[in-house]
Symmetry: C2
């Protein structure tokens, strides 16, 4: 086990009818004038924004509204938010939405207190040194941004998708009401579930030996997702399954399932170019990329993939030919994704095989140095895109 | 799943040679004059206190020392610490030791800023409203106090063992260096492992349905303990096994494996009277009590015990007679405890069956209302003590 630092100070308020508490928690964290940041009109139409602002009113907190965050949140909206924060002397940002909205809120939070261009944090040119405190009211179980210090933003010009991270961006509190997720479509729900599982797999495939506790915690989240996701796809109003998935999504990404070892994250990076170029859902892109990545790298550590197959997918261990077990586990993963309605190849995703050279070029990281499990060259990345392009069940 | 609140703001610094960082973290949390609180002379003899004070010196932090915390930490030492804190204007408490030392530190932290008697917090007479910040350098993997808001203190007069809890008692930071635990005896190590497993079981046996994520996280910690504990008993210098156990101990008790449902805690309460009366190790007492409690209550929910047997102990499910599987799981648990060197009955623990009426009387809680899984009457508690008294492998 490697040395590590683990810090997850976010206060989680979980369950039915918890939205009403947001005013109380903004007050606890000394917010007096709040930017309420949200995404699509559905947050308004469903009455959620009204519930939020009513709670703020009851706590005597002023606020301004900024909606319009898109999936794959854009830098343009971040600039708008930063300007608004400065103009209105905002001292707290309340994010009402899913990962895109929270990531946009975090970018605004860091950018509002920075003299330069906030994009510097996403190119590595600058380090976040202060940020406006952020709280969240989560509406989609997926990104885990409600409990993480990470943020992913897409630069509209050229659709470049880049990420940053800092403990300063960790939300002060996150309100998680599973009922808010009941209106999501089966497709959105499945995209979220895929993202959650991918967050765990990025941490599961490691070169660090002897981290049994982290392995087992990874497996705990994955087994939960395998049980609960089909139940929600079958019945969107299954509160219990929604609740399990929502909390699993948070646990999957506050790094409790990743400490003490190297992590990979190549699948995420490879996928980002897909959702950057085609503006598809991140989870759908991961469903196409991650099993292809697994097939491409599994021989690097056959026994680790066999462990996944046996412990997570319930495969029988083939003691004569462990590679057979490993591949069987990968097949089961892809089949699971297909069964919950995810695309499994480029065509189903709306991507084109002839764009692969462009995708690889934009990736810009295929220098054989990225990826904590198997570092990939540009050729490797191209090969993975090609596997992903043509896969069939 | 029930609504819940989860908050674990402690900053964890984990791994080899991390003790040297304690000065930096005390400074980060604005400590300027520190009470260094520790237990036995071994912390001095091993040079650990010197390493700690050297780190404080390097950060320019003043300190006073207070050693002598005993296992089952006493109120008398707490009073001494409170007086010292007030006299010396202490603004941070650094606890260097195991759960007893941390619990004593927390009691001092709350008591130093309270006008009344700190024991009020342990009788329920008063609620903790402020506390001196606490940091820890952990030397035993067991109590989980390094990541929890709980504290257990024994009142010397009458050896009454009582607990309290508050988010205000959660350590600001905890330094976890598994190498510090390598000098523990096999017996101390096994006691710690038993305590860790008991913390999970208290949360595993619940009447709340449909909390798969929490079930799976419980199982993750238990499976880790079952793998790693015998390795450490066989080789006290197995760093990897020590590291897995140390982190499992923290995860077992910051409540990430307990959210969203009722918990039991009767075994802990029943055990507290044993270690209160005989001053035995808490873990050893749990090894005697917890399997007895399981045997006594398993028929309340046979399938839950069968789940434990299958998922944790690897038993075959007996589909014709699930009770057989349930009992088999309990037997495996007791056998595991025996194999790692724990006592399994009163005689091995140094307790006496004829004291049971006194134990039950002191318990004072057997009103049929305590225990989130199965509420127990005084008669039930007496019966459990009798099972525990006479058990054989």
């Amino acid at each position: 086990m490697d040395n590590f630092h683990f810090y997850s100070p976010t206060e989680f308020i979980f369950g039915k009818n918890t939205v009403i508490e947001c005013g109380k928690y903004v007050k606890k964290y000394r917010g007096t004038k709040v930017l309420v940041h949200y995404g699509s009109g559905s947050a308004v139409r469903s009455g959620l924004i009204e519930r939020v602002t009513k709670s703020l009113d009851l706590s005597g907190i002023e606020y301004v509204l900024l909606g319009g965050v898109k999936p794959n949140p854009r830098d343009t909206k971040v600039y708008e938010g930063i300007e608004l924060c400065r103009r209105e002397n905002i001292d707290f940002i309340l994010s009402v939405g899913g990962g895109s909205c929270i990531d946009s809120s975090k970018a605004i939070a860091a950018g509002a207190l920075y003299d330069g261009n906030f994009w510097d944090f996403y190119t590595g040119k600058a380090k976040i040194e202060k940020a406006v405190p952020v709280g969240t009211v989560l509406t989609i179980a997926a990104a885990g941004s409600e409990g993480s210090g990470a943020s992913v933003i897409t630069k509209e010009e050229g659709m470049l998708k880049r990420s940053t991270g800092s403990d300063l961006l960790r939300p002060k509190f996150s309100i998680l009401d599973p009922e808010l997720t009941e209106t999501l479509s089966a497709y959105q729900t499945a995209c979220g579930a895929t993202d959650i599982m991918a967050h765990v797999f990025e941490r599961y495939f490691t070169n660090t030996a002897e981290v049994e506790i982290t392995d087992r915690l990874c497996e705990a989240v994955l087994l939960t997702m395998i049980k609960e996701t089909p139940r929600v796809i079958a019945d969107p109003h299954n509160y219990q399954a929604r609740a399990n998935i929502m909390w699993a999504g948070t646990v999957a990404h506050n790094d409790i399932v990743g400490v003490g070892r190297s992590q990979d994250w190549n699948s995420h990076a490879i996928e980002h170019e897909l959702s950057g170029l085609y503006d598809c859902a991140h989870g759908a892109g991961l469903a196409v990329i991650m099993p292809a990545w697994m097939e491409y790298v599994y021989s690097h550590n056959v026994m680790r993939f066999a462990q996944m197959a046996v412990r997570i997918w319930g495969c029988e261990m083939n003691f004569v030919n462990p590679a057979d077990t490993a591949l069987n586990g990968i097949r089961r993963f892809r089949r699971f994704l297909f069964d919950i309605g995810m695309p499994i190849n480029f065509e189903q995703l709306g991507a084109k095989e002839e764009d692969i050279p462009e995708l690889v070029k934009k990736f810009g990281l295929g220098d054989g140095k990225t990826g904590g499990f198997v570092p990939l060259s540009t050729e490797d990345i191209s090969n993975i895109y090609h596997i992903a392009a043509k896969t069939e069940i």
